[in-house]
Subunit: 275 residues, 2 copies
């Protein structure tokens, strides 16, 4: 099964999912599209997010992907059902894997969720959790400062600790949660800072890690795993500035992994037509 | 989707998977068959294990289950492929979920596996791990004393610590593993003792927890999750002594959970015919 796994995101956050896919499924080839030209999706209408997402999906379907990973919380919240309904390949989003992992880890049934304002407002994590287990005590909080901070490259140090403390300490004092979902694909880059602020008694759930894990589960169930020994060359596409995208990729991936990646500009169909 | 999830095991070890399914999927009804009359499967031939497993599966198919969980390592090793091939419902074993979780957790790519002699001899975990990620350093060890000890009710205290130390300390000294797979459904009952012996730097992977988590993933993918609020009454069947099975169930499940369980004697088809 040498067909690739397709991964889509509104920008660069989904690269944390790609990084985990490369680590947990090293034999699989990945094709990533980041719609950096139109990022962020958070403040956009449902219709716009659906249209943009489908443009990326069409781009990947032409490359004959065997599975689709929606590595963006907003796109997952707005388009997962429609993608699942219309595509003949398996589709996974980032929200349900995080929710299932949190249910597995919590001992006191008290779970926190942090994400962008759009994700928290959509109640997508709360719905995913309650759908499976009604008796959970859930506390959700938007952390609008985290993504801009990460995009500036600030992930550790006194400034990062200060911002994370201001966002999370009031929440931690209020509830005795033992599990915290990092409900945004940027947040794994802040993991060590967040862990130092909330303490080691709180299990942090990375949607990126969990989505990669469940991609592995689904590929096996569908007999789509690639068992042959290969060193795949992954293809990354950005709709926006190539230079900026390369710089961020260098920051996320180690040198060895960078050698396994090609980065190109993507022209999505709708954008081409409107020129 | 009010149809039940079917769970089969050679005896009582699979009840740790049931316990996790009840915790992680509280809206789902479970039907469990433990073949205690013919337990253990470990020393039996492949053909015998396959025949016994299919007898339990036929018993459950008559009850219209929507998914099958093979909560026994030996049965998983010998029959999973054949069950997947012939059944139209989703099937999951206990080996692959543990392997995937270990790959997710390990940071240094050094993974330990402990299990019964049969499981270790089958190389099923090693194969499952290497199939996905070739560059793992794997160390597997049979712990034949653990199951008899658990079945005698010894799970904590000086005796348990002594037995676990003798089995695991030589292995821990030899390899710098950061992740240890509890590759037997009895072992989660020894989890705190094992953790105290190997230290907190080693992540213990419970196949039972991970199998329940992946059952959740697969039910959602197949649109088989039960979203309605129910308090299911689970059905447990044993092919062996009812009294003994009830005593072990009481030890594993808390009082609140015991009220949600009925326990009956199962008569499998082949056994009936041979009378």
């Amino acid at each position: 099964m040498k067909r690739a796994i397709g991964v889509i995101d509104s920008g660069v956050g989904g690269l944390t999912v790609v990084s985990e896919l490369m680590r947990q499924l090293p034999k699989e080839k990945l094709i990533y599209v980041g719609d950096t030209a139109r990022c962020p999706y958070g403040p956009r209408s449902k219709e716009e997010v659906q249209q943009f997402t489908w443009e990326m999906v069409d781009f990947l379907l032409e490359k004959d992907i065997k599975m689709l990973v929606v590595a963006c919380n907003t796109a997952t919240a707005f388009t997962l059902d429609s993608l699942k309904k219309h595509l003949s390949i398996p589709v996974i989003g980032v929200i349900q894997p995080g929710a299932r992992a949190a249910i597995k880890f919590t001992k006191n049934n008290c779970i926190g969720i942090i994400g962008t304002e759009g994700t928290i407002r959509s109640h997508a994590y709360t719905d995913a959790l309650k759908n499976i287990k009604a008796e959970l005590d859930i506390y959700a909080k938007a952390c609008p400062m985290f993504v801009p901070m990460v995009e500036q490259g600030i992930m550790e140090g006194p400034k990062a600790i200060q911002v994370v403390k201001e966002a999370l300490l009031p929440m931690m004092k209020q509830k005795q949660m033992d599990t915290l979902i990092l409900g945004c694909t940027h947040y794994p880059l802040l993991k060590s800072t967040i862990q130092s602020v909330v303490g080691t008694n709180v299990t942090l759930i990375s949607s990126s890690e969990e989505t990669a894990r469940e991609t592995s589960t689904i590929l096996e169930m569908q007999h789509l795993l690639n068992h042959t020994e290969v060193f795949p060359i992954h293809q990354f596409y950005t709709t926006g500035d190539l230079e900026m995208f390369m710089q961020i990729s260098e920051r996320i991936f180690k040198e060895r992994n960078l050698q396994m990646i090609t980065i190109k500009k993507a022209v999505l169909h709708q954008m081409q037509d409107s020129k």
